[in-house]
Symmetry: C2
Subunit: 470 residues, 2 copies
């Protein structure tokens, strides 16, 4: 089934937009479209009428004389079935119901209303997204339910049953340079469900990687088929919510899903070489690795940073994940030693430039030596929280990125950056800018030693399994 | 051995303080003492003389006519042995050598110099801290090697072989309300080592909890004895660096320690009911739990927050760690339902107040109901990144903390707070202030769902083992 009509609507109506409270969170549906410069026709509907952001609010759907491709429903659940019937006469093909209060409540009335909505939609050949979700984000068609998401398009398709988790992921992903082809928060999945979207992503040439936060399946058989198909050509990342007894109960209350058996998910992921993760941050970690970290020849890392204790910790994290931090050969150490004072610097790998500031030429020389060493498959640069921006700026990754040099700066080997975030206000701006600087230039940026090691291992394991299975 | 003379010096000399570069990081030794208002005599020594921060710099030690209890050595390694001999005539009892370039280099000259320093010190009955470390922090005596550490005293003793890790830990601990009796960064442990400090902490009435970042042992037998003794009365947390082959090599280059066998550490920790952790943040997580989270009767949590997806994720994290998130009894759910609209709110536990703002009275009523329920042992409140300060302020923990109510606010059950940190500048200040608000009022604050679950499980397991062993 071709869901292009869901992601590329020519006209949108927001029905039930609040005219009173400009700070209400649902205003983001409008500001998202306005700030993304949605080029289609945009209608607002509220019986009170008036104007919002220079757009006249229609008092009823009747005032709109033209076709409405796509309706965003912000009305109460009780009014939802009627809205379906009304828009049927406007040629509407899809309604996204943001509204909650349906089957996820577990109460009779909510279950009845959802059934009524779905029956009316089926009758009129209208597809439903949700209810109880945030809908579609497609920078390609300039549709977004938030003005805060990245405006540039990318190659990642994202499915999320949770709207809140969608927003959380997007904030981190945006900062770290991850860009999406299209994404959808689909909540209760009353009509369009995980299998529909996954099938679409499999066929969508603009989607090359797929990630999902999923709480349960509406159509397990078709999902499995879609997963088998897509995983043969595109990497897939799954974060499954509701893997414990209590979590499964929360899932039932959140999106009315059946969480399913953990063992089934586990074997499904193993069978189709799915990258399984355990948090939203881990989804982004894997996405930056797949997207921004050229596959290295092997698992041997050379690590460069400032701090002996940090060098010990990051090495432990990498080696615990089956990555290797091999000792540099003595001839390279001797060469580095020629221009590096011994006090405060560890040269064996990690290369710890603790002595601090003003040694750009040394870092360059060292990187050139490491670049020529066959034993190094990739390079990891770390900057601890608190070292940015003072130390970070001085020994920063700009040396790796200079356009005058070969490959990814002065090294042709893949490079990853760990830039620890800081919670302390005096350090935050510098840290944020440093992260953004590298992420914007296409380097994979991680927030912690552990997350870098975990994600790089996961992605290398994915490639290794793929190679093995042929 | 009584090391009070290390932590309570009556006079301090900083020898080799830089007079040129006011931004050099070693200036923190001076600004630490100045900002902590160290009440003893403070001398600065540099052959160039002059004045720093209103203090006259002595051109030589001879200019100081009085006893110097404690010397901070910032001179090059090559000059270190001579300094020991010089200060012997000043009645000095302890020298802290910040200087690196000793045995940790693995080079002959460094090893020889360290040996020479130690022999001279022994001859003159002077104890050495380090070399290659940052030394002592003791808010009680107003000694600190950084102006950024907490000025208030607490009940935690902290040992760190790494100075950088000491600083990293202290930044997070300070923000989250953790306070220390005394702490020491002791580097190569050439003279005073882990066993000396641990024995001291065992006898120190001001130290009730001990945490350590340790890379290797200088005196394994005595350390083991000290650990056995202290762990029978005080909780001990250990983060061991260098548990992999590469990590062990980094340890050798960092503090010239032998990392030791991982299995030995593992069995040592099990035998003495040591809380073993894997990162600096995890040390702080356990410290806030031990210090600020009253031991609950059992493992049953009621979780309150905003967001269905978040509710699912936090429940999974808690139950994976063997904590329980039991369903609320139907009569309590029915009572909550009376004043809570069904749409967008999950009431079973987690109690998810997604509907947003302005429902202080509802949260109060709900907490009162939960407080009366025998099935709840403790309460966890979460605020996601991005919900602070808007949602966070409205549904914040101030309801739990009101002095007019019983116990810890309006609930007598232990309360923990998860406040996700944000890396996005517009949210950072609000998040930081919210964290600080609760931490300053004695609530345990965690940065993530996972860290809260992990730390609470670790501390409950510690108590359970203690009970079992009697």
């Amino acid at each position: 089934m071709d869901l292009d009509f869901v992601f590329y609507p020519r006209s949108i109506a927001i029905v039930g937009i609040t005219t009173l409270n400009v700070k209400h969170w649902t205003r983001a549906f409008l500001t998202g479209l306005v700030e993304f410069k949605y080029p289609g026709k945009l209608y607002l509907v509220n019986p009170k009428g008036g104007q919002i952001e220079g757009i006249t609010v229609c008092k009823s759907l009747e005032e709109i004389g033209e076709t409405i491709d796509y309706v965003i429903g912000l009305i109460p659940a009780s009014a939802a079935p009627e809205l379906v019937t009304q828009v049927a006469y406007k040629g509407t093909r899809v309604i996204h119901f943001c509204t909650a209060g349906f089957s996820e409540t577990g109460e009779k009335e909510g279950i009845r209303l959802e059934k009524e909505v779905l029956e009316a939609a089926k009758k009129h050949n209208i597809r439903i997204i949700g209810p109880n979700c945030l809908g579609v984000y497609c920078p390609d068609s300039r549709v977004s339910f938030s003005p805060l998401f990245p405006k540039e398009s990318g190659n990642i398709g994202f499915l999320s049953q949770s709207g809140g988790n969608f927003g959380s992921l997007m904030r981190d992903a945006g900062l770290r340079g991850v860009r999406f082809s299209k994404a959808v928060s689909y909540g209760n999945a009353g009509d369009l469900n995980e299998a529909d979207f996954l099938e679409y992503f499999a066929n969508d040439p603009k989607t090359e990687i797929v990630a999902m936060y999923i709480e349960g399946l509406k159509d397990g058989k078709r999902f499995r088929q879609a997963l088998e198909k897509i995983s043969s050509t595109k990497p897939v990342i799954i974060f499954k919510g509701g893997v414990t007894e209590g979590g499964a109960r929360a899932v039932a209350g959140h999106t009315s899903s059946l969480a399913g058996n953990e063992r089934i998910w586990d074997s499904l992921c193993k069978q189709f070489n799915i990258i399984r993760v355990n948090s939203l941050t881990e989804i982004v970690d894997v996405l930056v690795t797949l997207g921004h970290f050229t596959r290295p020849k092997g698992r041997n890392a050379v690590i460069i940073g400032g701090g002996g204790g940090a060098s010990v910790m990051i090495t432990d994290k990498f080696e615990k994940k089956g990555l290797k931090v091999p000792q540099l050969p003595q001839d390279i150490i001797s060469k580095i030693r020629e221009y590096t004072p011994v006090a405060g610097n560890i040269l064996k790998n990690p290369v710890d430039y603790s002595d601090g500031l003003g040694f750009r030429d040394k870092v360059e020389k060292t990187l050139t030596l490491i670049n020529e060493w066959e034993g190094a498959d990739f390079i990891v640069k770390f900057i601890r929280a608190g070292q940015t921006p003072t130390l970070g700026k001085k020994m920063g990754l700009e040396y790796l990125l200079e356009p005058s040099k070969t490959g990814n700066g002065i090294t042709s080997k893949p490079v990853a950056a760990v830039i620890e975030g800081s919670l302390l206000p005096p350090e935050q701006e510098g840290t944020y800018e440093t992260m953004k600087f590298y992420a914007d230039r296409g380097l994979p940026v991680y927030h912690s030693f552990d997350s870098a090691a975990t994600a790089i291992d996961r992605v290398l394991s994915y490639y290794e399994t793929k190679d093995r299975r042929g």
